[in-house]
Amino acid sequence: MHYGYSIGIEELWKWLPLLIPFLILHLILLVVALRDLLRRDLSTEYRLIWTAIIVFVSLFGPILYFILGRKDR
């Protein structure tokens, strides 16, 4: 378990431009999902659970929220 230092900083630079679109898309989803969650009139508990899912389930957290979290009560 020694990952992290086998890759040089210049390698990362090469990756970055390719990863940027990825990160931007993720950020957009994250912001839109959180904004929607906070704007809706929901219980604190429900909000906390979904905030956790949106932020910590990488990539698919916001999508899970759009599919399941916005069901009308």
Binding site: H2, W15, L18, L25, V32, F66, R70
Partner: protein
């Protein structure tokens, strides 16, 4: 067809209010990025994860740009993408039946045919947008990391692949008309689609009748510029099934007693 434009406008509004217009294309863009990126960096990723043990030497096959695009379609779009399409579409008719909006629309001057057509065109357009953006992104990444792929081949492959997507959408719409729970719609649709998909691996003669086989045609078009034999048969069968599914949905819903509220 004036009602149709009203219904389509409603579909559009619903898709944007439910953020479907946002997350659908984004998911396919993710899928489009993942394949080229992970194929290209696979050697480095392996190293990053600790490298290979001494003495073990995996000869990674030489991957071409065409291979990458092909596996984007078969590994990403046809798996996670398929799942997303079904889940995104599972409640489109069911919720209208449940909350009585279908009754409402039908007690106006709109006909059941206009309603179903509105749903179908609306969802087909969203999927078209999503799949096309995803494919375009995959093409950009592949061209940058590997070599340039002719846009004409991507577009042609995409067109063929989209026919299969249209089949997914129509099947889910039909299940939505027949069944009364969105979970049931998702399960049955996924079961049928995955069954068809798995059946393509068998490779026997009846594949030319299998809509899922369109993926293989699409892949072949991207790689070699021409489809597999009997492409026209597969495409015709798929289009025919799409029409039959639409007619079946109409037939079933028109006979069903709708809830009044």
């Amino acid at each position: 067809m004036n009602h149709l434009s009203v219904l389509l406008k409603k579909e559009w509004l619903e898709a944007s209010r439910s953020y479907k217009l946002l997350w659908f294309p984004v998911v396919f863009m993710f899928l489009g990025i993942i394949q080229p990126l992970s194929s290209y960096y696979l050697p480095q990723i392996l190293e990053l994860a600790g490298g290979l043990p001494e003495g073990v030497n995996i000869a990674l096959p030489q991957i071409t740009a065409e291979d990458v695009l092909a596996s984007t379609v078969t590994n990403q779009f046809d798996q996670l993408g398929l799942l997303v399409i079904v889940i995104g579409m599972m409640s489109i008719v069911v919720s209208d039946k449940d909350n009585g909006m279908l009754t409402f629309i039908l007690t106006r001057n709109a006909s059941l045919g206009e309603y179903l057509l509105g749903k179908w065109i609306g969802q087909a357009a969203i999927v078209a947008g999503a799949v096309a953006t995803g494919m375009l992104i995959a093409g950009l990444y592949t061209s940058y990391l590997y070599s340039f792929v002719p846009l004409s081949r991507i577009v042609a492959g995409l067109g063929v692949y989209y026919t299969w997507c249209l089949f997914m959408v129509t099947l889910t719409l039909l299940m939505g008309s027949l069944l009364s729970r969105s979970s049931g719609v998702a399960v049955v649709s996924l079961f049928v689609l995955i069954f068809l998909k798995v059946a393509t691996a068998l490779g026997s003669g009846f594949q030319i009748m299998n809509p899922a086989h369109l993926t293989n045609h699409a892949v072949h078009i991207m790689i070699s510029g021409s489809a597999l034999p009997h492409f026209m048969t597969t495409a015709a069968v798929t289009l025919l099934l799409i029409v039959v599914f639409l007619i079946l949905s109409h037939f079933y819903l028109s006979r069903k007693e709708l809830p009044a509220s």
